[in-house]
Amino acid sequence: MVDLPEKKIGIISCSGEGCVEGTISRVATRQVLEKLRPEETVTICLPLFLAGGKEERAFAKHYPTITVDGCEKLCAKTATERYSGKPASSIVITDLTGNPGCSRSGRRKLDSDALGLAEKAAEKIAKEVDEVLDHWR
C-alpha cells in the first residue's frame, strides 16, 4: 500500500475579479501551490465551494485551512466559517498593501509592484502553512 501524505493544508483564495487585490490573492495562492509548498497544500476552488462542491467542503471540514482574501470583505474566510469551520489562519492582502479598500486599476494584469506584493503574500502564506503544520504535528 502506498504511503500517501496525510498532512495537507487547504488554501482558499478569494480570487476576486473586482479588484487588483483579488488578483494578487489568486496569484499568491497559486505560487504557494505550484512552487513554495506543492506537497503540503491543496487548493480549494471558492466558486465550487460556494456552489456546494462536496469534496471542497469535506476537505475544509477535516483538514486545516488558510484563507486568503483580497480585501476586508473577507469572502473566503466567511464562506469557510459558514460551510466548513474556522480557518487555521487568515490573510488579507490589503493588510500587506497598507491601503484599505479595493483598487480596480491593474486588476487584469499585475504590474511589477503588484507582482512583488504577490510574492510577498506567497511567502507569508507559505510561512503560515509551516506554522499550521508544526502545530498539527
Binding site: 500500500m1 502506498v2 500517501l4 491543496v42 487548493t43 465550487l48 462542491g53 469534496e55 469535506a58 476537505f59
Partner: protein, 152 residues
C-alpha cells in the same frame, strides 16, 4: 456495502468499481449478457481533465485488443482510447456528443463509451486486471501522477 473501492488523495475521492475489469491505461470493461460495455476509470477521467469531445469508431467497426478505437479530447490533452478487448462495436454512447461531461461526472455509469460484441471474450478478460489489482496500480500511479488531478 459500497460497490466501489475508494481512496481519498488530498480532497479527491477516487473510486474503482468492484465489478468491472481494467486495462493498465485505465479503461474498464463490464460483461453484460454476452456483450461488453467499456468506459473510463475515475482516475483516468480525473487526470485527463474536462472532456470536450469523445470520438469512437462507428458501429460495426472491428477493433483489436489494445488498439485505438477512439479518442477523447479534454481541455488540456488528447487521450487515445485503447480497446480492452477484441470485437465489433455494437453501440456507441450517442449522448456524449452533446454531453461529453458525463465521462467526468459519471464515468462508471452514464459516461460509458461503447458496447462491443466480443470476439475472444475469455482470453481477453484474462489479460485484464480485476478491481483490486487496478486499485493497487492506481495508488502507485498517484505517487507520480497526482499533479495531474483536476479540480472538479
Amino acid at each position: 456495502m459500497s460497490e466501489y473501492l475508494q481512496t481519498v488523495f488530498d480532497k479527491f475521492e477516487l473510486r474503482v468499481h468492484k465489478e468491472y475489469h481494467y486495462t493498465e491505461d485505465g479503461l474498464w470493461a463490464k460483461i453484460e449478457a454476452g456483450r461488453v460495455r467499456v468506459g473510463l476509470s475515475d482516475f483516468l477521467q480525473r487526470t485527463g481533465g474536462d472532456v470536450a469531445f469523445v470520438e469512437v469508431v462507428r458501429q460495426g467497426s472491428a477493433v483489436e485488443r489494445q488498439a485505438e478505437f477512439g479518442t477523447l479530447e479534454t481541455a488540456k490533452t488528447t487521450v487515445s482510447l485503447l480497446s480492452p478487448i477484441s470485437g465489433t462495436i455494437d453501440q456507441v454512447n450517442g449522448i456524449l456528443s452533446e454531453k461529453p461531461e458525463l465521462v467526468n461526472s459519471d464515468p462508471y455509469g452514464e459516461g460509458w463509451l461503447a458496447i462491443l460484441a466480443p470476439r475472444n471474450l475469455e482470453d481477453d478478460f484474462k489479460a485484464l486486471m480485476n478491481a483490486d489489482e487496478y486499485f493497487e496500480l492506481m495508488l502507485k500511479k498517484l505517487e507520480t501522477e497526482h499533479e495531474k488531478l483536476e479540480v472538479r
